[in-house]
Symmetry: C2
Subunit: 193 residues, 2 copies
DNA sequence: TGCTTAAACTAACGTTCGTTAGCAAAGATA
DNA sequence: TATCTTTGCTAACGAACGTTAGTTTAAGCA
């Protein structure tokens, strides 16, 4: 869907995603946002309640996508190695298909105010726990090396959440392709076997 | 060195590192910074030229540390696997020993203005090239899997630069210890051999 | 004691911030 | 045609922003 066919409200949310990512939430003014759309700053308030509402929309929409995609791919799978691979590729697809929004999710969430901030942290922790459990399963099954699960989980997420810093969805590599390659990298490492 | 024994100028730089990391550069006001020190905002200008100068100091000091530590550990080593391991552990030590500053380096550099911004990008690209060369060497030597070097470099840096999001230098694990564990993770991956 | 200097202060500058109030235009609906 | 709703506008609010000017304070030194 091109940006002209979106409702004004959707258009505002989309441009906000882009600006919040490029300049950061605090450094993006409502006048910047309005100018990028082609209206006056005050006119934004015919469609939205506040600047922070825009940030909340982005953060919680992406959080929901992470959960949804995770549930979708885990359904029915029991093999620990495959469960982990599916979780990694699902997460990667969400990130790579929502570069602006996921970038804001990763870097701008701290500008949320209460109670959104606590809710955000709780959801993130719950999501991270799922990955810790996958790692535990893999270790207990003797498939993964005996690593500290919370340490390994942090490294995995660092790799995944860094995607928006370098990936461009320009046709060279599809989200599915990099998802597979990242899963390979996390499972195999750099060394030749 | 405790914060009270620093010169005022050093103290300002140190508190700025911390605030820029916690709240972001744009969301940190000079009045925030002054308040955290216990003086008036205008008094800061007896010691510094501008807010942006503080950001420049942080970014370029850390950049220099990355280069220095890299040069120090590469000196004399020729084995590709060891060269890569040393580069990774050196980088990790710099990050883990400068959590506030490296966090600002990773996340707030975009608020630099020209010409500092271009200079920053150039230095970062030069540093990244060193890692790409190490990966190339490892592949040519048959030690590393045949991965795309620029892709692998991005994944490596994502892992390393995510350290400030989770590591606390509180005595549980020293910078050297996590450096070794991260190198293991990058080289070996999660799978049991 | 008088002089110099560093480092703080108060006051204020002009600008930008997010947001509100009130109004105008335009299209949909009756 | 008359009315309502949506979506924009101009004007402006009070607050906060980075920064400058000018002044005071206090310590070090001749």
């Amino acid at each position: 869907m091109s940006i002209e066919t979106l409702s004004r409200k959707d258009q505002i949310n989309q441009v906000a995603q882009n600006l919040f990512r490029e300049k950061g939430y605090s450094a993006t003014s409502m006048r910047d946002l309005a100018k990028a759309i082609g209206i006056e700053a005050a006119s934004l308030y015919s469609h939205i309640k506040s600047k922070e509402e825009l940030l909340q929309n982005i953060c919680f929409r992406i959080a929901a996508e992470f959960f949804d995609e995770y549930d979708r791919v885990q359904n029915g799978t029991t093999d620990p190695k495959l469960r982990f691979r599916h979780a990694v590729t699902a997460h990667t697809r969400v990130v790579a298909s929502n570069l602006d929004a996921s970038s804001v999710f990763f870097n701008e969430w701290r500008h949320l105010n209460e109670p959104s901030l606590s809710e955000f942290k709780a959801q993130r922790a719950a999501y991270e726990d799922r990955f810790k459990n996958l790692l535990r399963e893999g270790i207990e099954a003797g498939v993964f090396r005996k690593v500290q699960v919370s340490f390994a989980m942090r490294l995995v997420f660092s790799t995944l959440n860094g995607i928006p810093t370098w990936y461009r969805n320009d046709g060279a590599l599809s989200p599915d392709q990099i998802a597979d390659q990242i899963a390979d990298f996390l499972l195999e490492g750099l060394l030749k076997k």
